[in-house]
């Protein structure tokens, strides 16, 4: 592997550059994935059948909590990448750890939210609306879950091997993924919850 030292570590080999670029293309596909879910949601929004409607089941408190958590985790993963770039392994690990913890907090809040929906009669099978809502939230939540395990793998590798071309590349790509999930959440927050509650 040829390492080009004029570049930041995560870009320092040809393969590293390819990985980052390829991941961006993947994110392009992810935009469309979530756009499809949003399309379904917007069309199904009022097709509640005999089930409850959005405004009846949404609660602003937990949603704000989730939003704040995810925003902050997006901030901390940014700090982790910054720490990585200035070569501060411990700080990077700390920020990465905080990010993952916030991820867990977000997930538990979301699971709590789903349990709440279940109790108020908005299950997966209730109506077109609940199916679209839970699939959209669930797909995002699934991404976060996957991201959590991915992040743990990276955390272990950075601990073991330190910051090198390989781990830096992985961490950077992971940060892209995590930021992207935050962007998706912003849209969920605005166009599912706030639009439903306004």
């Amino acid at each position: 592997m040829k390492i080009d030292h004029t570049q930041p570590l995560e870009y320092s080999t040809q393969q590293n550059q390819l990985n980052i670029f390829g991941f961006w293309i993947f994110l392009g596909a992810e935009i469309m994935l979530f756009a499809t879910l949003f399309t379904a949601y917007f069309i199904m929004e009022n097709r509640t059948g005999n089930g409850p409607t959005g405004p009846e089941i949404f609660e602003i408190g937990p949603v704000l909590f989730e939003t704040f958590i995810l925003l902050t985790s997006s901030f901390t993963i940014g700090l982790a990448v910054h720490a990585m770039r200035i070569g501060r392994k411990k700080a990077m690990l700390a920020f990465l750890g905080v990010t993952l913890l916030l991820g867990v907090a977000f997930l538990s809040a979301e699971i709590n939210e789903f349990v709440h929906y279940y109790h108020v009669g908005a299950t997966y099978q209730t109506s077109g609306f609940t199916a679209a809502l839970l699939t959209t939230l669930g797909t995002h939540g699934g991404h976060v879950t996957l991201g959590f395990f991915w992040g743990v793998c990276i955390l272990i590798q950075v601990m073991k091997d330190g910051i090198n071309a390989r781990t830096a590349n992985k961490s950077f790509i992971f940060s892209l993924y995590w930021h992207f999930l935050d962007v998706v959440w912003i849209f969920i927050f605005s166009f599912i919850y706030l639009k439903g509650l306004m």
Partner: protein, 662 residues
């Protein structure tokens, strides 16, 4: 016993039992053969674990040909059933299963791997790269495709085939009206291979944008690379829609959600919408690489550079955008207002403009050229008028008010076969013949190839042109029979004869492969067609590292420049080459995906969860793996190169094959 009952075929008939026996016999024959000839190790080392883009391409190619036969046999059964009024060859249930699988197999498991085969084989060579950007991912893509294809193909012997059409409109495809697991197979098999397609799309875009040879700017890429690039752009934005639609369909069927049901707020139209949001771009995913192959072939055999390179590129970019703006024309009759229909009608017709530009550019490429009628060129020449007819009938269908009369009729069936067969299938056969020496180092027989072409073209015209007429006479598509009074009989019989001729053509093509393996001369050299673009600047068959030295490029016809204008393609000394390592993980992942998919089809939750965990385990394993690939030494490269060069010297006396004959 009760557990096994679910795997029984719900609508058995002798043909299905015969197929079961045939499948078992063939599988046994393969296993015994591999053991007897001690080829298991070879198979594993050279093919199942390969990450070489050329071998993956060949595997795609073989799969596509196999699937072409599966789909072709389905087609023959359909035409035979309709050849006469009140025919009793197939009952309605089997007819429904056969046309559903015909459509899915042909689009998803024949046409897609066919284009991926050429993308894999040719794109890295055309841009002077050693491999694709993510060789391991490429192998995973292939094995996911293979898992999906296998899963889909076992449906008719285990549990029953899908029977709701390749479009699987809900609620017909819902659990209420489609009780067998057939539609589960549809949802999950396509999902798995669709994920593979998406990965290929990402892989190819990265390869094309980041791994081009020095000097090759975007506007100096060969046309097939441009076409593949635009097709992959469509892939990455279209396939996620399919992923979600299939996910929703799966949950509707397996978990009783209400996306596409008719109660509790479900909306059956939403499936049709998503299906076509993916489905329409999909046809451009198929046709753009085909256009790319025609561009290469026509330019090579006209002995001229491609006319209007810039407008060719521009038209493809526009097509890729427009392809996402037209999906509603598949359901003009669904009750939306005249305004919506008008918008989508105009956007659909607009696609005719860039497509027309391409047709005229090909014609102008022949202008002042020196046309050699080889088999690939024959296919291209046949393509132009036939595809034009397909295209203009497309414009007719795009007129939404008139579409109320064409929709769901044989006119529509005739139209899309008229674009896909001369458009995609002809291109793939042209590409197969054209790139055969690139893959294997010998040529396919021209004489048999030409017979194949004529049978195919005439068969095609006979098979599909009558459908335009019966469609306008009121024959709806997907009817398993019709009465004599309708008067559809004679023309349908003509169509059956046409289908028979096409079947003969495909047999000839396969016979040609076997014939050529036995009889074709092996010393065809590196440039058997007097070609123009970079992929011909290396040896036939291509060594694993593609190019011994990185080529330097100054135009879209780098090889022609080197041959005619003294352009120096290869500068400097041979250096050691970095190549990726082979890996068994992609194959294993494919197997696990197959098991996972199968478990989902039959709602076997424990194996489903176990195999899902297996998939994640593979991903974690990959994350921790440290694999920097391997290096090929300079001596090894030199040894390989000199072998090719000595072969080249023997050959110089032999005249260029496929030269100015005919």
């Amino acid at each position: 016993m009760e557990f096994f009952e679910r795997f029984a075929v719900p609508n058995p008939n002798p043909a299905i039992y015969a197929s079961m026996v045939a499948i078992v016999v063939v599988s046994l024959a393969i296993i015994i053969g591999l053991t007897y000839f001690k080829k298991w190790g070879y198979l594993w080392r050279e093919w199942l674990t390969t990450v070489d883009h050329k071998k993956i391409g060949m595997m795609y190619l073989i799969s596509a040909l196999l699937m072409l036969f599966r789909g072709g046999v389905d087609a023959l059964m359909l035409r035979a059933q309709l050849s006469m009024p009140d025919n009793k060859l197939l009952d309605p249930q089997h007819y429904n299963e056969v046309f559903s699988t015909h459509g899915i197999v042909m689009i998803i498991f024949m046409a897609m791997p066919f284009i991926f085969a050429f993308m894999n084989l040719i794109v890295p060579l055309q841009i002077g790269a050693r491999d694709v950007a993510f060789p391991r991912l490429n192998a995973i893509s292939f094995w996911l495709f293979a898992a999906g294809a296998m899963l889909f193909n076992i449906s008719f012997v285990i549990g029953g085939s899908p029977d709701a059409g390749w479009t699987s409109y809900f609620p017909l495809a819902g659990t209420e009206f489609s009780e067998s697991v057939g539609t589960n197979y549809y949802m999950i098999a396509i999902q798995i291979s669709g994920i593979g397609s998406l990965m290929t799309g990402i892989n190819m875009i990265t390869t094309i944008l980041k791994m081009r040879a020095p000097g090759m700017t975007l506007m100096k890429m060969p046309m097939f690379t441009w076409a593949s690039f635009m097709a992959c752009v469509i892939i990455i934005f279209a396939f996620p829609v399919l992923t979600i639609a299939l996910l929703m369909g799966t949950t509707d069927r397996l978990f009783a959600t209400n996306f596409f049901t008719t109660t509790n707020g479900g909306m059956d139209m939403l499936w049709a919408n998503f299906f076509w949001v993916w489905g329409h771009p999909e046809v451009y995913i198929l046709i753009l690489p085909a256009f790319g192959i025609y561009s290469e072939v026509i330019s090579t055999f006209s002995g001229r550079n491609l006319y209007g390179y810039k407008s060719m590129v521009g038209s493809m970019v526009i097509i890729s955008l427009l392809s996402f703006l037209v999906w509603t024309h598949h359901f003009f009759t669904m009750g939306q207002g005249a305004l919506t229909n008008s918008i989508f009608s105009i956007s659909t017709m607009a696609i005719a403009v860039p497509t027309g530009v391409k047709i005229f550019n090909w014609l102008l490429t022949m202008w002042k050229g020196k046309i050699r009628f080889t088999v690939p060129m024959l296919y291209s020449v046949g393509f132009i008028p036939l595809f034009t007819i397909g295209g203009v009938t497309g414009v007719m269908l795009a007129m939404s008010a008139a579409d109320y009369q064409y929709h769901n009729t044989m006119f529509l069936v005739a139209h899309f076969h008229n674009t896909i067969i001369p458009g995609v299938v002809f291109a793939m056969l042209a590409g197969l013949t054209y790139y055969w020496p690139k893959m294997f180092g010998f040529m396919l027989n021209e004489r048999i190839g030409k017979w194949g072409f004529w049978f195919l073209s005439i068969g095609f015209v006979l098979a599909f042109f009558p459908m335009y007429i019966t469609g306008l006479n009121g024959q709806a598509r997907r009817m398993y029979t019709y009465s004599e009074a309708t008067g559809f009989g004679p023309l349908n019989f003509v169509a059956f004869i046409g289908a028979g001729l096409m079947a003969i053509a495909f047999c000839l093509i396969v016979y040609n492969i076997f014939y050529s393996i036995k009889h074709s001369p092996r010393n065809v050299g590196d440039d058997p067609w007097n070609a123009r673009s970079l992929e011909w600047a290396t040896h036939n068959p291509v060594p694993e590292y593609n190019f011994a030295r990185t080529p330097h490029v100054a135009s879209s016809e780098a090889f022609w420049d080197a041959k005619k204008h003294g352009h120096e393609l290869f500068k400097g000394e041979i250096e050691e080459i970095h190549m990726p390592n082979y890996s068994g993980v992609p194959f294993i992942m494919g197997v696990i995906f197959f098991i996972c998919g199968f478990s989902f089809v039959f709602s076997l939750w424990i194996p489903a969860i176990v195999s899902l965990i297996g998939i994640f385990a593979c991903m974690v394993l990959r994350s921790f793996e440290k694999d920097d690939g391997r290096l090929i030494s300079v001596e090894e490269i030199k040894a390989t190169e000199s072998k090719f060069e000595s072969a080249e010297e023997i050959k110089t006396a032999v005249s260029t094959y496929g030269g100015a004959n005919s």
